[in-house]
Symmetry: C2
Subunit: 387 residues, 2 copies
Amino acid sequence: MIDRRNYHLFQPLLYQVATAGLSPAQIAMPIRSILRNAANTRVLMGRVTGVDRERRVVVADEHEIPYDFLIIATGVRHSYFGHDDWEPWAPGLKKIDDATAIRRRILTAFELAETEADPARRRRLLNFVIVGGGPTGVEMAGAIAELARRALVRDFREIDPRAARILLVEAGPRVLPSFPESLSARAFRSLQRLGVEVRLGTPVSAVDAEGVIVGDERVPAATTIWAAGVRASSAAKWLKAEADRAGRVKVGPDLSLPGHPEIFVVGDTALALDPAGHPYPGLAPVAKQQGRYVADVIGARIRGSSPAPRFVYRDWGAMATIGRNHAVAHLFSRFRFGGMFAWLLWGLVHIMFLAGFRNRLIVLMDWTWSYITFQSGARLITGSSDM
Amino acid sequence: MIDRRNYHLFQPLLYQVATAGLSPAQIAMPIRSILRNAANTRVLMGRVTGVDRERRVVVADEHEIPYDFLIIATGVRHSYFGHDDWEPWAPGLKKIDDATAIRRRILTAFELAETEADPARRRRLLNFVIVGGGPTGVEMAGAIAELARRALVRDFREIDPRAARILLVEAGPRVLPSFPESLSARAFRSLQRLGVEVRLGTPVSAVDAEGVIVGDERVPAATTIWAAGVRASSAAKWLKAEADRAGRVKVGPDLSLPGHPEIFVVGDTALALDPAGHPYPGLAPVAKQQGRYVADVIGARIRGSSPAPRFVYRDWGAMATIGRNHAVAHLFSRFRFGGMFAWLLWGLVHIMFLAGFRNRLIVLMDWTWSYITFQSGARLITGSSDM
């Protein structure tokens, strides 16, 4: 197992680190500890820079690691659709360091607003723009709204944090486009109830130091968060493999690279098609099932038995949360519901999927505490500020 | 209240963040939250750059804040005794960002050792040098020893983390020089039992990228931690006040600046003398009692009554912990003891003094968990690596 980080990150809760609800260590677990009892595993921290398909070695830093089977699960980074110059002003949320940087920006904006005498500059500091209405964008917008309207509300003297404007911008016609339309509508209403301004069908045409141009309106904003698009890792380049526009590696029905049955690509960085020929979405459950499937395939090949010829995703459902007491859930491609029950289910499922009993217990305690007191647990500004 | 951070930090537990035991948010609390219910307070996040004693204003960033009374409690930074070029190779431990940087170095050293084939370079990666045998140095050395000998021991395949050499270097004749000699001896034995090599009466004569020169031995080490000396903040410069060699502001018996009864200096950045003419040590209890005393003085002056004419420190005692189950305690200048009971008392007192019930509860849980499982709770390598 080669990773450039020493920990496994539970990405679905990363937005809570970015909005000061949880600490990084609560959603991350050392990879070595996870694999401690698997005596036939080795863990290396290193940055992969290439794969030599002919000699069957992975190049990581100055090391060459030989393989019989290779599984690539290197995920995605955010993508600015050709506007990479927007990145400094609109950071995305994929890594822990992204999350603590966004947390620093959000909290610093309120701090600077408290000492800012000029109304226009104060307004800009209290404007938060989230670009992208998928689950990450919706959850970020909801969490920032709760921070401003609840956790911070009694801590400032000069400003009223409730005056913060939280603007969620989505280029398409609805939020949560991967969910059924009725749930998108429900999420839209929940966001509005939280005080989030949702702008649909409106692309962002510019992002710079001053703010964002949304449709034909210039919104001055000190904090813009990018949750709009992703681009696959460099895996296609390493493998010299065919990829789609987003950089995802095209794989066969058994998730192996065409012509290379010993190389598999899984998760967000793979372009795998379902039996109807549609690509599987970039979701954690897809990646997890793909991982298990490939393990079974390799096991079967080693034993000499014949593996299941194609990966089929079993869709148990999807959920997204919109602040306190609200979530939407779409289960077994059939049940659709929202509100308090969906929110409790969301919490339960996310606690369950966290790695490590200690993390589960502590996150549960932190959530309970925050729920009762309306306070958030990790309101620290760390690292150097760039505002 | 002006601070350049948005949080109050409980420094006595900072070494546990540096050694992956606790998360930063568990020992820090937003200043705004602490003062939320004091309606006549205002909190500003800002960097103080000067004080104008005549116009009675504090300059912070581009703001000028007028005062009637001014209390300066800006603490200390570590000091390299004229060898500031050692700092990149031997970081000190005063801020949260220091702690996460040291944590990154320690954990990265083990990760790199795991993939290092050259025995000499591997040896260097597994050498840890702590310079300074005061409470911070002793606690750091103990915590690194426990990390290497317990928490990490089953996670590596190529190296045995127990082979790590932890070297505590003290220029003076004993560790914990501010404690009675019998407790220094006891701490020395506890450190040895933990596998820490203690070098007494040996100054460090050089620190560079390769390691440290201790006495006349060159110790190659990838990780060196500085816990040897401190230098006061720039307060004396701001105030154009008289200071000692360490930069501490000389104050009168009531902790006010001579000639400026409206300016007080407290804590580590003040040079205050006890009735016998000895300077008070730079300890948290001294600072806390000084804060309370100055509050009383100001209150009395405003009311027109006469305040206590001089600050007198009431010494309840001091403690230091040396790994699991071991601590030394010196209470009421009379009782001296060590071992398990001192360790339990140390834990109890530190939990009590943490700000915020939530932090108390979560730290207690984390400690209990670590005690039972021998695992540490925050083994994350975050930020960019410089090794």
